[in-house]
């Protein structure tokens, strides 16, 4: 399977996503240039983390106008898988691919640490290798990760099972919502109504090797493989 990883000016996790796909997953990956209009035959598109256009205006607000985004949106509309991590998630919200917005962390500080997530829905193309309620450890690294939506949107995505990852406390408090950034309902990741677009603030591409502390993130990539293979 071929993964296309978009490089916006200011993307800096494109390299990590590339190595997660090629080294850990053993699949093919290509970089997609933001000025192009060509997904180069990618089956899956990844919008990587970073600071597209410096995020000086609002995270993701400019990147969504990049030429390549027209093709990314068309890809998503065809029902093909698109994943956004961190800045990628922010771009997706700005582009309307996913509902809600990501605001400045409640602490007003950048936060980099490994966090525990609970898999809330294991029946999506991105989570079918996990089990519902499974706890996984994945790093976060962001300054604008506070997921926010109006009450109606929030109840809709909760009701439709579209919240796929939630931040939770330590092993003793596995059920307790605990958000490192002040996200509503401790939301860490959601999918689109059709289920083929995933946005999450944590970095699964940084959790694919036990040497670096966790390989819990590889499941996100493997889930897509089994979905498309099936």
């Amino acid at each position: 399977m071929k993964f296309g990883i978009v490089t916006f000016p200011g993307s800096n996790c494109d390299y990590d996503a590339y190595h997660a796909v090629v080294d850990a997953l053993g699949e093919e990956a290509v970089y997609l240039w933001h000025k192009d209009h060509d997904l180069r035959g990618s089956d899956v598109v990844i919008l990587p983390g970073g600071f597209s256009y410096g995020d000086y205006l609002r995270a993701g607000a400019i990147a969504r106008f990049s030429p390549i985004m027209r093709e990314v949106i068309a890809h998503a509309e065809r029902g093909a898988p698109v994943m956004g991590f961190c800045n990628g998630f922010q771009i997706m919200c700005e582009a309307g691919l996913l509902p809600g917005a990501l605001l400045r962390n409640a602490s007003l500080r950048f936060v980099c640490e490994a966090v525990r997530l609970r898999v809330e829905n294991a029946d999506t193309p991105f989570t079918n290798r996990y089990t519902r309620g499974q706890l996984i450890t994945i790093p976060i690294a962001h300054g604008d990760g506070r997921y926010t939506a109006d009450a109606e949107t929030l109840s809709r995505i909760e009701g439709e099972g579209r919240v796929v990852f939630r931040y939770v406390g330590g092993p003793g408090d596995a059920d307790e919502w605990w958000s490192p950034n002040g996200s509503m309902n401790a939301i860490a990741g959601i999918v689109s109504a059709a289920g083929n677009v995933l946005g999450m603030m944590p970095h699964p591409e940084r959790a694919v090797d036990d040497l670096l502390g966790s390989s819990d993130g590889i499941g996100v990539f493997e889930s897509i493989l089994s979905r498309v293979a099936a």
Partner: protein, 767 residues
């Protein structure tokens, strides 16, 4: 032959007062007149003032720096370039350097620190290396002061926001607090990059006719005379110089990084250099001097941010995120198209010429011209008088063993609490949580341990990286303090399984024209040279930051060491925290009755006194061989350097450093009962490593082979057990949650607590 430069309309007259305002002495001005055979123009005066500033010329430190060892078979590039470069085998090399941004950070902490990171990144990627890690070394006054908390928070955010945006992980650092840094914080940033040896490029201008190209951000009026600002004492007047601090743009930096690496790989350029301190002036003059060629620059070709900038302003601007490139003639279009791809501004502003001059024109008019490369090579150097401050001699000679214990010290747990809540010792998680340390997915050991470990992708190797310096030791004895800084950095690197290879240094001192300060600079350099020689770690470059003074005096002399080590095999990577219950805890090295210069004396008795611990470089070398041998043999489960705060603090750290998996320990130090209790628990004897091992006999045998004494002091206990230390009749029991709270919550508490609460805590403090 072109016309000689004449004053521009509007140029001020060259008077002694103007010369003094440019930081040049009468003798230096005479030297310029001799070089030119005439009076310099205003533009020329500005150029010389920048290039002959302490910051650019190293005029007070250069003779001392010559003492440092700089060679080893693996050193590909020593001092004098943008960054040092060492080979790590397989055709791979590492470029690294440390640099200070102390003065800007004192007046504008956020931008001062951010642009410090930007500058050091450019120094590394202009060698053809991709930056893979950032480190830093920070010093502030006491956190009791709201101003210091503002500086601390601003510097940390500035470092974080810049590095995070560019996407280079900040993997290690050190932060210490002492009143001597009040008003003059130290902000040293280090960058490490990886390159293929064959892609190494040097900032040497070559090839007559080759075009000189300005790349990146446009030139504005910001930062004019930043280099000169950094070459004078800080005073209240300097507050007015805030406009000299530049503003960073990490997004443009990221584009420059990618574009520069593409340019270097394209082969279309011969040299590239950051327009850093003293901007266009220093980058063009230094590249010309290294290549021993002439250059001519036309300032009207430089892309500017505002109208009406004079040649003087364009030459001395320190606008950030700009590079100067010497391209191969005929390949300008290739250069332009790479820069266009990355949306970067570019303009040909000059060329390499056969005539041996450094010439600046404004259109057709020559505004500055210096013969040959004398502008760079003729800067005078100074060797001022050196004399130790008698008050410091007296402090060092004080018999600190005669200082009586305070009554509270009857319970060593109380003393341990004082040390773990000292901001210099307490966990810096509050700091590094704000730094992205996992981006690029190569960080095996991140901040919070002994040294950071960054894997070299595609190989079995990893780099061990560390910054280190104890300013208090250096204050009490600059030679010994510098020796310890090198030895401790090496020990930290070795504890992770890395062989120390080379260092970069950042010499942070006061005003060198004062004999007491020059003495410190001279002694510290001597000590550093001795230690680098003995440990086989040459100096490949660095930075000197002088005039770190405020109205209250100089900062502690702080020669920061940035060390790079190499781990041969990923399987050898070793961490500091205890990891397996039942392992034996062994102390490598010998403990002496030393409390001079310790954190204990500073924190518990409010004293900076006594001789710092002795440091036997032979013993240090043996210790490094022993720990590397033992790690190689697979008998080391954890290794932690025993330093600030002594054995008790080191043991506590081993228990709780892996915060999610803490383990207790049962320790018996009664074998050291012949020493004073406080020396055993809190003394900072050098040359010691705390190891946990499943095979103490094998460890002992390896250590003895290297002449290193070992003492079995206990066992690793379970997650439910406390840290228990027995010493003769004394018994210290510290639960893991108690240790965790003290160690991890101290700095967050201080940074969120109200000023009023801090004031009351300070008045309750018995010191």
């Amino acid at each position: 032959m072109t016309a000689l430069p004449r004053p521009r309309p509007g140029d001020p007259a060259i008077t002694p007062a103007l010369v003094a305002e440019h930081g040049l002495t009468t003798e230096e001005f005479q030297r310029i007149e001799q070089m030119l055979g005439r009076t310099p123009t205003f533009t020329e005066l500005g150029i010389v003032s920048a290039l002959w500033s302490e910051h650019c010329s190293y005029k007070h430190s250069r003779p001392l720096l010559r003492r440092l060892p700089t060679k080893a078979p693996y050193v590909l590039q020593g001092p004098g370039e943008n960054a040092g470069v060492i080979s790590i085998g397989d055709g791979l090399a590492v470029a690294f350097k440390i640099e200070s941004h102390n003065h800007p950070s004192a007046v504008e902490p956020y931008q001062g620190a951010a642009t410090g990171v930007g500058g050091i990144l450019r120094d590394v990627f202009t060698m053809g290396a991709r930056p893979i890690a950032l480190l830093n070394s920070l010093r502030f006054g006491s956190l009791d002061s709201p101003r210091v908390r503002y500086l601390f928070a601003g510097v940390v955010k500035g470092i974080g926001d810049y590095g995070n945006c560019v996407g280079v992980p900040t993997v290690a650092g050190e932060v210490a607090f002492d009143e001597s840094y009040e008003g003059n914080p130290l902000v040293n940033a280090m960058c490490v990059g990886l390159l293929r040896e064959k892609e190494l490029i040097r900032a040497v201008a070559q090839g007559v006719g080759n075009p000189i190209i300005a790349v990146g951000a446009r030139t504005g009026r910001d930062g004019i005379h930043g280099a000169s600002f950094a070459s004078a004492d800080l005073s209240e007047e300097n507050e007015a110089k805030r406009p000299q601090v530049q503003v960073g743009d990490p997004f443009t930096e990221k584009l420059l990084l990618e574009a520069s690496l593409e340019l270097i790989r394209s082969g279309a350029i011969v040299a590239i250099q950051d327009m850093g301190a003293a901007g266009l002036t220093s980058s063009s003059a230094e590249m010309a001097a290294r290549g021993d060629v002439g250059v001519t620059i036309d300032v009207t070709k430089v892309p500017v941010r505002e109208q009406g900038m004079t040649p003087y302003e364009i030459l001395l601007s320190e606008s950030q995120e700009r590079m100067l490139v010497v391209a191969r003639k005929g390949r300008e279009q290739e250069v332009a198209s790479i820069l266009e791809k990355w949306d970067l501004t570019t303009a040909v502003i000059g060329e390499v010429i056969a005539e041996p001059v450094y010439r600046v024109t404004e259109g057709d008019r020559v505004v500055a011209e210096f013969p040959g490369t004398q502008l760079v090579t003729d800067c005078p150097t100074y060797t001022p008088d050196a004399r130790e401050d008698a008050a410091i001699t007296a402090l060092r000679n004080r018999d600190v063993s005669a200082i009586r214990e305070r009554p509270e010290e009857g319970d060593p747990r109380w003393t341990l609490e004082q040390l773990l809540t000292s901001p210099s010792i307490a966990s810096k998680m509050w700091v590094y949580r704000q730094y992205d340390h996992t981006v690029r997915t190569n960080t095996v050991v991140g901040p919070g341990g002994d040294a950071a470990v960054v894997r070299v992708r595609g190989t079995r190797r990893a780099l061990a990286l560390k910054t280190d310096c104890n300013g208090r030791y250096c204050y009490l004895d600059p030679r010994v303090g510098a020796i310890i800084a090198v030895a401790e950095a090496a020990r930290n690197v070795a504890c992770t399984g890395g062989r120390p290879l080379a260092i970069t240094n950042n010499l942070n001192f006061g005003n060198p024209r004062r004999p007491e300060v020059y003495y410190q600079l001279r002694e510290a350099t001597t000590g550093m040279a001795e230690a680098c020689e003995a440990l086989g770690t040459p100096v490949t470059g660095g930075n000197v930051s002088l005039y770190n003074e405020n109205p209250a005096g100089a900062v502690f002399p702080t020669p920061v060491i940035g060390m790079v080590g190499l781990i041969d095999d990923l399987d050898r990577i070793t961490r500091a925290s205890f990891s397996v219950e039942g392992d034996t805890v062994v102390l490598l090295g010998e403990t002496a009755d030393e409390i001079g210069g310790s954190e204990y004396l500073a924190r518990v008795h409010g004293l900076v006194a006594g001789a710092p611990p002795r440091c036997d470089l032979n013993a240090e070398r043996n210790l490094i061989e022993a720990i590397l041998g033992a790690i190689g043999a697979g008998v080391v489960r954890s290794a932690h350097d025993c330093s600030d705060g002594g054995l008790a603090v080191a043991l506590a750290e081993c228990c709780i450093m892996d915060r999610n998996h803490p383990l207790g320990a049962r320790i018996d130090l009664s074998g050291l009962s012949h020493l004073s209790r406080r020396a055993v628990l809190f003394g900072e004897t050098q040359g010691r490593i705390l190891v946990s091992t499943p095979d103490p006999a094998a460890l002992r045998e390896i250590a003895l082979r290297h002449g290193v004494p070992t003492t079995v002091i206990g066992t690793v206990a379970s997650a439910d057990d406390p840290l228990e230390i027995v010493l003769g009749r004394d018994r210290l029991v510290a639960s893991l949650p108690w240790l965790d709270r003290l160690y991890y919550e101290t700095i967050p508490d201080i940074m969120t607590k109200s000023t009023a609460a801090l004031v009351s805590a300070a008045t309750e403090s018995p010191v």
